[in-house]
Amino acid sequence: MNSKEMLSQIEEIFHDQLDDETIILTPETTAEDIDDWDSLTHIMLVVAVEKQFKVKFTSNEILSWKNVGEMMDCIKEN
């Protein structure tokens, strides 16, 4: 899977979890760019991403992410 496909799948997860079809993600997107990206949403997003890509993150990995691109790097490394 290339980065564009991965970003598109993550974007769909964001649409579903945040009930907002207008969200457009880029690798540079951060939680500050999306109004409803709160702590509970973050948990739901991580669980959905783990399910979608069949990966398991560690809490340290999650804490290290600064943006969506770093989440994608982590998925690729898993």
């Binding site: 509970l40 991580v46 669980v47 809490s59």
Partner: protein, 131 residues
């Protein structure tokens, strides 16, 4: 994490008359399907049908009171109603751990409610967080 994939839990529940009445008082849902025997029978049921959301209250009890630890919070809950539940029905609830997400301290359960005929009356998923 004390939860592992496929860990299983079981509980039994009965919808007694007072359970039903307390739920009506709480929800104010007096739809005739739930309160009028003749109406329910005319719609093809054996009698008044219990509110499906009484089962959600049982799930609340399961999560809040029956798990090995109390440091839990419900993140999300899905339920599908498959068959009617009647007054005094005895229900067997089974739940198994279907997902462990250590990175965010979250656990997912798949659950089923079955009646004495072993028919699934409801099923779904619950995600909880360990706080």
């Amino acid at each position: 994490m004390i939860y592992n994939i496929n860990d299983k839990f079981e509980e039994s529940f009965v919808i007694f008359k007072n359970t039903h009445q307390n739920f009506i008082q709480l929800s104010e849902d007096r739809n005739p399907l739930h309160t009028n025997n003749e109406f329910a029978i005319s719609k093809g049921f054996k009698g008044i049908v219990m509110h499906g959301n009484i089962l959600n209250a049982f799930i609340s009890y399961f999560i809040g009171e029956c798990l090995p630890t109390k440091d839990v919070i419900i993140h999300s809950q899905e339920i599908q109603f498959k068959n009617p539940v009647y007054l005094d029905d005895k229900l067997k609830f089974t739940a198994s751990v279907s997902g462990v997400y250590e990175s965010v301290n979250a656990i997912e359960f798949k659950y089923y409610f079955r009646n004495l005929e072993k028919k699934i009356v409801a099923k779904g998923k619950i995600q909880i967080g360990i706080i």
